[in-house]
C-alpha cells in the first residue's frame, strides 16, 4: 500500500505536488502570523471584529431587527451574538492567499487575485455572520450546529470556488511556459 502510494506520488506531475506542499506551508505560516501570533490578532483582528459587529448590526437593522452593537457584541431583543476570534474569516483568507501565492503564475495575476478575492471572501464571511444572526433569532436550537459545522464549511467552499475561478480565469492564462 505504502509503496503503491509513493509510486503514485512519484508518477504524478511534480509541479502539482509542489503546489500542494507550498499551499499547505503558506497556509500554516500565514495563519500562524495572522490568527495565532498575538501581534496581528490583538492589534488588528480584535478591532476588526468590532467593525464586523457594526456591519452586521447595520445590515440586520435594514430589515428592522432593532439590533445594537456594543464592542464585538450584536444584541437584539431576541438574540445576541459575539463576533469573536475565528468569526473574522481569517482561515478562509489565509486559505485563498496560500492558494494564490503557491501557484506558479505572473505576480500581476496574483495581485489581481488577492485584490479581488480577499475582499470578496470578507463579504461572504459578512453574509455568514448575518445568516447566523437570523439563524440564532429564528432557529435558536440549531444555531450552534449551523455555526460550527455548516457556516464555516460554506465559507471555505465559497473560497474554494473563488480560488478555482481565479485559477481558471487569471492564473493559467499568465502561467510561465
Amino acid at each position: 500500500m505504502a509503496s503503491a502510494l509513493s509510486g503514485r506520488i512519484r508518477a504524478v506531475n511534480r509541479g502539482a505536488v509542489r503546489y500542494i506542499v507550498l499551499f499547505g506551508l503558506i497556509f500554516v505560516v500565514a495563519y500562524f502570523l495572522v490568527g495565532v501570533a498575538p501581534g496581528v490578532r490583538t492589534g488588528i483582528l480584535k478591532p476588526y471584529t468590532g467593525l464586523l459587529a457594526r456591519a452586521v448590526t447595520f445590515i440586520v437593522n435594514l430589515f428592522g431587527s432593532g439590533a445594537v452593537a456594543t464592542g464585538t457584541l450584536v444584541q437584539s431583543s431576541r438574540f445576541s451574538m459575539d463576533v469573536a476570534m475565528g468569526c473574522d474569516g481569517v482561515e478562509a483568507c489565509c486559505f485563498f492567499l496560500a492558494g494564490v501565492l503557491a501557484f506558479p503564475t505572473a505576480w500581476r495575476a496574483k495581485a489581481i487575485g488577492l485584490a479581488l478575492g480577499i475582499p470578496l471572501i470578507q463579504v461572504i464571511n459578512l453574509g455568514r455572520l448575518v445568516g447566523l444572526f437570523y439563524a440564532g433569532t429564528y432557529l435558536p436550537s440549531l444555531e450552534e450546529e449551523l455555526h460550527v459545522y455548516v457556516a464555516q464549511t460554506v465559507v471555505i467552499l465559497f473560497s474554494t470556488a473563488v480560488l478555482v475561478y481565479w485559477l481558471e480565469r487569471f492564473a493559467v492564462k499568465h502561467r510561465p511556459a
Binding site: R8, I9, A11, V12, Y31, F32, V36, Q152, I156
Partner: protein, 209 residues
C-alpha cells in the same frame, strides 16, 4: 452532499473517539505516564495526575471530538462529488484522505492532552509565584486555529488526492508515455502489452477508426 454526510459522520464519531483516545493514550504514555486518555462517548477525557505540587489530586479535561474532526464529512462529500475515471480511484481517495484525517485527529488529542498539562503547569506557577504563565494560552490559540481550519484541511487533502492521481485510471505521466508507445508501434508487430498478438488486432484496435 455535505449535509447528507453529516449524520453518517455523527454516527461514526463514537468509534472514532474510541480509536483516537486509545491511540493517543498509547502515544502519550511514552511522553508522560501520569496522563491517561480515555473515550467517553464523543468526548476524549484526559486525566492528569497533577502531582505533589497540586496536593496529589487528579485533574480532568475533555475534548469534544466533533470540534477536531468536522472536516471529515466535507472531505467525503468532495471526494464523492468528484467524477473519477474509475470507481476504485474514488474509494482509494476516500480511504487515503480519511486515514490521513484520522491520524491528524489522534495527534489533535495528543495536543489537547499536552495543552491540559501546560494549563495545569501554568496554574501551579501562578499559585506558587503569582506570575501568570503564557505557554498554555499560546498553545490554546494554536489548537483553536487547528480546529477552525478543519474545512481548509479537508479541501487541501481533497486537492492532494486529486493531484496524486487517485481519480485517474493511471497517473498522467504514465498515460502520456503509453500514448507515445501506441503511436510509435508498427501495426503488424507484436503488441507491447505482451499478449503475443499483432498490435493492430490487440491494443491497436482501440486506436483505429
Amino acid at each position: 452532499m455535505y449535509l447528507a454526510f453529516l449524520p453518517i459522520w455523527w454516527a461514526a464519531l463514537e468509534p472514532l473517539t474510541a480509536l483516537a483516545a486509545a491511540c493517543a493514550d498509547l502515544i502519550y504514555h511514552f511522553l508522560d505516564s501520569s496522563v491517561s486518555i480515555a473515550a467517553d462517548g464523543r468526548i476524549a477525557r484526559i486525566t492528569l495526575d497533577a502531582g505533589a505540587m497540586a496536593g496529589k489530586h487528579l485533574q480532568e479535561s475533555g475534548l469534544r471530538m466533533e470540534t477536531v474532526a468536522y472536516g471529515m464529512p466535507l472531505l467525503a462529500a468532495l471526494v464523492v462529488a468528484t467524477r473519477p475515471a474509475r470507481l476504485l480511484g474514488k474509494i482509494q481517495a476516500l480511504a487515503a484522505g480519511l486515514a490521513l484525517m484520522t491520524l491528524l485527529t489522534v495527534l489533535a488529542v495528543v495536543g489537547w492532552a499536552r495543552l491540559a498539562g501546560l494549563e495545569t503547569h501554568d496554574q501551579m506557577v501562578f499559585a506558587t509565584t503569582g506570575t501568570k504563565g503564557h505557554t498554555s494560552a499560546f498553545m490554546y490559540y494554536c489548537f483553536h486555529g487547528y480546529a477552525f481550519s478543519q474545512p481548509v484541511l479537508a479541501v487541501i487533502t481533497w486537492m492532494g488526492t486529486a493531484m496524486c492521481g487517485f481519480f485517474d485510471v493511471r497517473p498522467l505521466k504514465d498515460a502520456n508515455v503509453r500514448t507515445q508507445e501506441v503511436r510509435t508501434q508498427e501495426p503488424k508487430s507484436r503488441c507491447w502489452c505482451g499478449s503475443g498478438r499483432q498490435f493492430r488486432r490487440c491494443c491497436g484496435k482501440t486506436t483505429r477508426k
